[in-house]
Symmetry: C2
Subunit: 762 residues, 2 copies
């Protein structure tokens, strides 16, 4: 671990056992699929066989007549369906898109698009009923990639979609164009004088790239169970990254006040951004309202692939100019992102990340958010960033070769640092980009020799914003001195522990004395999604403020017991409360006094940080290409990252390893493979090739700690940026190994054999 001026903490930085570990390894943890309620019905979704078609008519009567079938619903059964949407005013289009993706109204826009749902007394009856739901389609030509979709001649997916002009990620659009288009959004950001920049360059390279849709590949399929009681209060048990996000979406689609919807987060088997949108929760709720009984739904793996949100495929063009000394004079990058069926790709985030690691005077970045007849994309770990930086880092790698410069030195020469103004206008505070690059150079891996035929080494770096947003915490002090901590964040990567650790640190008590619990939306204040690398950051901050609330009350109580003023009592970092004349209580001692001196103490906090600590990562890969099979073997892989403060280094390492593995998957094997009719031909975990442990070496990690000054413990957030460098790292390593550079990922054996490897000598 590489640390810079790190404060000494007692708990933060240690590696305690996670509180949910035992229940998870012994099978006791309750996932959505484990839920069973009295009188529960089972529901299944009818899905479109077409990638693009008008729905002429849906006849549910035969399905309804099947004994055991309790209800069949379509889009029309939602209170925000087509005919009622106009009443909603502003935002109606977004609500319509959200609903139409949950259940299609007048047209289906991708194979697997939900068109109806059926609830029955048992699962098999529900499945049988699907075939009895008669849907009359009028097939339309499908548009399956961004290049086609952007053509004037292309069929349009939406009758009223016009291109909105954006200026950034969180800024309102400037307005929409006149023409109906498949381009939902356009973003153009510039700084400096691009033309002058390229004119000053000694070398200018321009290259095009493509990436395909890829799925987050969470092991647990989506599930939802809903019960709408006779008082009109809806409870939803679900696997989600954000129970409050489900609450907000469900309440919007069902036109309920948010407080009438209670979302109970079950344990979650992975999300990576894909478990933020709702799919099954709204139909389960409507089916429960119709039947008066609880309704449970879950997806097959095929439905997960075809009916949920992967990340965008992209097409891009990058042009970079450099001087002989390695100074980058100008960068230009254009990206078209697949949104899938409805607007909302991570284009803006990607475009803003593209050149962020570099301090360059003259920059132009541009992006388009383009609808195509494929599933609507969802967030996927640093959404948009890896597609964008893959292109930039590939061109830089090629430039370094031409300059005959070390790839790291070249990047160091141009690296963004504190004070650098990005093309989106933001100015970096203290960030670890330089430190990460230096850590690459100093790493055993980078210093090691690599020899052998068809072997190569690549490096690449990556950037991600990280976000803040709102989190709450509540904690009560037990008379045995342990804390019951209540939080609202879905725990995916160990955040029960990392939030509890920050509470323990603030109170000066052992981690083991904090018992964290994730509760439903009725039992804790608003807490944003587990995503954006925000949970250890904002959740930990809420825990810090909650602990400070407890500290103030403990001090007041000690003062009362000692009959002195609170300002004569101090709460010290060791968890000892000290008063005048040598009086003192340990935390446990005072906790034991509370019940008899006025009652026990609780803390509460709600934080809503506007800023977060940006993250940089740099990866090194050694690969070997088998020229006979086209298979790329990753020989060694090291991931270096500025993690701010590593609250729980093991979990940080796990996040980095997981992100790297997913990025390597997208680099080498993972892709949505479509036929000409828009049918995904590999919608199973057998055919969709996620790397297994057998496919990867141990991912080595090096943690660089440049504390984030905007957080009580210097936390930045760590979950996303490790997925940014791998695509370029692997691609650069392949180029080093075989002298030819993959520009369309994944670089599967087929691509290697058919497109990249030189033809065999006869």
């Amino acid at each position: 671990m590489v640390s810079t001026e790190k404060p000494k903490y007692r708990v933060v930085g240690t590696r305690p056992v996670r509180p949910d570990g035992t229940d998870k390894v012994t099978g006791r943890a309750q996932y959505g699929a484990d839920l069973r309620l009295p009188g529960m019905l089972y529901a299944r979704v009818k899905r479109s066989p077409h990638a693009h078609a008008l729905i002429k008519h849906i006849d549910t009567s035969k399905a309804l007549a099947l004994p055991g079938v309790r209800a069949v619903i379509t889009n029309k059964d939602f209170p925000v369906a087509e005919d009622k949407i106009a009443d909603l005013g502003e935002g109606a289009a977004n609500i319509k898109w959200l609903l139409d993706n949950v259940m299609a109204s007048d047209r289906v826009l991708y194979k697997g698009h939900a068109v109806a749902a059926v609830a029955a007394n048992d699962l098999h009856t529900a499945e049988d009923a699907l075939a009895l739901i008669e849907v009359e389609y009028e097939p339309l030509p499908a548009v399956l990639n961004v290049r086609d979709a952007m053509l004037d001649s292309s069929p349009r997916l939406h009758d009223n979609l016009r291109t909105e002009e954006l200026t950034g990620l969180f800024t309102p659009p400037l307005g929409a164009g006149d023409k109906v288009s498949n381009v939902a959004k356009h973003l153009l950001l510039t700084k400096g004088d691009l033309e002058a920049g390229f004119a000053a360059a000694d070398i200018v390279l321009e290259r095009e790239f493509e990436t395909t849709m890829a799925h987050q590949g969470y092991i647990e399929p989506h599930n939802a169970t809903a019960f709408w009681n006779k008082d009109g209060e809806l409870t939803v048990w679900t696997s989600t990254q954000g129970s409050f996000a489900v609450r907000d979406q469900v309440s919007m689609l069902l036109q309920l006040p948010v407080s009438k919807v209670k979302v109970v987060p079950m344990e979650i088997g992975g999300g990576f951004g894909g478990k933020i949108p709702v799919y099954l929760d709204p139909p389960a709720a409507v089916l429960s309202r119709v039947t008066g009984q609880p309704v449970k739904m879950w997806m097959t793996r095929e439905e997960v692939f075809e009916g949920t949100g992967p990340t965008s495929g992209t097409a891009s063009r990058v042009k970079i100019g450099v001087k002989r000394d390695g100074t980058i004079t100008a960068m230009e990058a254009h990206y078209a992102y697949e949104a899938g069926a409805y607007p909302g790709s991570p284009m803006a985030a990607g475009v803003m990340c593209a050149t962020a690691p570099y301090d360059v005077e003259n920059v132009l970045v541009e992006g388009w958010d383009v609808v195509v007849n494929k599933p609507k994309v969802a967030a996927y770990r640093a959404p948009g960033a890896y597609q964008a930086e893959f292109a930039v880092e590939s061109v830089l790698d090629e430039l370094a070769q031409q300059l005959e410069m070390d790839a790291v030195d070249f990047r160091l020469k141009n690296a963004a640092k504190e004070g650098t103004r990005r093309v989106d206008g933001a100015v970096f505070g203290p960030v670890g980009n330089i430190q990460v690059l230096e850590a690459i150079k100093n790493s055993p891996h980078y210093k090691s020799e690599l020899s052998g035929e068809h072997r190569g080494r690549g490096v690449a770096i990556g950037f991600w914003f990280n976000v803040g947003f709102e989190s709450s915490a509540y904690a009560s002090v037990n008379p045995d001195g342990r804390i019951s901590l209540v939080i609202g964040s879905a725990d995916i990567g160990g955040t029960r522990a990392t939030i509890a650790m920050q509470l323990a640190e603030t109170l000066g008590i052992p981690y083991e004395d904090v018992h964290p619990q994730v509760v439903d939306t009725d039992s804790i204040g608003f807490t944003g999604v587990t995503g954006g690398s925000r949970t250890a950051f904002a959740g930990g901050w809420a825990a810090y403020e909650c602990a400070m609330d407890i500290r103030r009350q403990m001090v007041a109580r000690a003062a009362q017991i000692w009959e002195t003023d609170a300002d004569k009592v101090a709460y010290d970092a060791d968890g000892v409360i000290r008063g005048p004349e040598g009086k003192q209580f340990t935390f446990k001692e005072l906790a034991a006094q509370l019940p008899h001196t006025g009652g026990q103490i609780q803390g509460r906090a709600d934080v809503s940080p506007m800023t977060a600590g940006p993250a940089f990562a740099g990866h090194i890969a050694d690969v070997e290409v088998d020229p006979d099979t086209g298979k790329v073997t990753v020989l060694r892989y090291t991931a270096i990252q500025d993690v701010g403060t590593a609250v729980h280094p093991s979990y940080v390492e796990g996040q980095i390893q997981g992100g790297a593995a997913q990025g390597i998957g997208m680099a080498l094997s993972e892709e949505y493979f479509y036929d000409g009719n828009g049918v995904m031909r590999n919608a199973s975990l057998l055919d969709y090739r996620i790397p297994t442990t057998l496919d990867l070496p141990m991912i080595e990690t090096i943690l660089v700690e440049v504390p984030n000054p905007g957080h009580p413990y210097g936390v930045r957030g760590v979950g996303e940026v490790p997925i940014v460098p791998p695509q370029a790292t692997i691609s650069n390593a392949i180029a080093d190994a075989i002298g030819v550079r993959p520009r369309n990922l994944p670089a599967t054996p087929r691509v290697l054999l058919e497109e990249l490897l030189p033809p065999e000598k006869p």
Copy 2:
């Protein structure tokens, strides 16, 4: 409703719908019996056939050998069993008694006493296994009533029990006597000069009374499900009046820190004090630890009668002197309370209540807590008070007859009021005793004529302390302006609503905008049992403080939005936040602003009031006695009570009606009927005669509101005192009807026919 100087409230005093109503009437509410966990085992308890016996040996081997049996436990399987108890130091005796009542160690002390428990894969196997547990007993003579038990010649239940001298309800004992005894505690309280008091009297009456054990008769039997996970954390789902009380008892018996025990309160089907002690929770926990699986237990009705805690039977002697003008000059009362098998009857409370309604100079009250070979008693609604006041109110009724004074006027002449010092030393603040007595006189019932043969009218009054103790609340403000309120109080009589109402009142918002939820012990701060008439009082107070915490933050936020100082912003009673220059937000408007102005707001509070508002009640009964059958028919019944502030008058009326019905049951039909071997002969709801709706008239209620100045909304607590007057009220009415006074309750048809009614003329 009779109100005195009642403040005007918006929500408090209205009668909204209860939030748990729909779920309860539609069968959706989850009780302990509804719980089903994956891999759950079923357990049953082996119970003693003897009222008193030594346990020579327990052989569990045959039961363990039965296929499907997973574990058999006895007292020895607890970490505080006989051989380990000495390590516990102070309080060891209490822990031993608590455990021995849960599962007998060296001797059984009542028929139905638990001696072992067996867990099996299914219920029937567990039941079959009970017969295979071989227990070798050495029967001992049983002691079945307090008069026998107090004799020097009586067999002793405990080898080391010595009489402790008490000075009050919450004061530590003065010390214990030398002799081994069945009398666990003795309390003697005096004031004035008793001898002089009786000397000054014109009439002195002395009478003896008896009451029998009676059960609370909650409809839902006890149940508990426990899961002890591999991390050593124990979760208990149970029907209880106090989840934290279960947590404390279980953690004591299992020697776990309280924070390692999570108690999830299921809905509760009645408790009345009987669901505070633990019976099944500890064995379920131990069985779960042994098997590694969740273990569910529940009782049959027979087990509930024989194996849980009814209220004490008593024997008493009361002597009262009065002057001709009706002035009471001296009162003397002696009470022996059955504790059941282990010390702990409500004797002290009863003794302190006995003369509390009267302002008398010379008083002596005395009591004994006596162990007998019957189930250990538990709290039962104003525990101890009705037995004590039955005797006093009977003698006063007889005195009023002799004085030829109106029974109410006689009591009014001697009534305790603000400033009266009780025999226990406490001085009344503002109380409603006088107002209740005047309300009796002014009531339509008391003013009505009663005529007809064998008919009579009785009145009596009653007192109960009410208690305070600790309660917590947590609440979060949703962006739709509704509040999610989290509390820890078991909701038996509608306290979700009454606590939510006080939160709504404080915030100036509608009741319907508060959504209360009862959560587990890990999710809210410490909250005492629902009992002692404390929940609407202390829980409402916590809600008030929690709302004040929210108000302060709402004011601060409004000030921030308006860019002014918080002290220029006021939170008004109508829920409108007003600032300078006519600026204002309704609660809903500001709630909607919160997410975008720094985050949402939560309130938290923990209150621990030391005092409560004492309660007085006065009842009127008209009865008719059938001289042929001995059956007493209650013709009309009116219950008048000082309720402080009736937060939700319907629930207050319900509490009063329920308490009166239970008191009437004890007056006329409910009793533990034992044979000479100590076997209860009526341990079913068929034979144990709880009055049904067919046995009772509509109980009329008159609410007198004398606000408690020690509570933000004047709340006193209402649940207990209505059970105090009925025994004397009915008894006095019978005396009025037939000229003979029942002194041993219940006055069943047998008692009427065989003991009271004059022999038929030939």
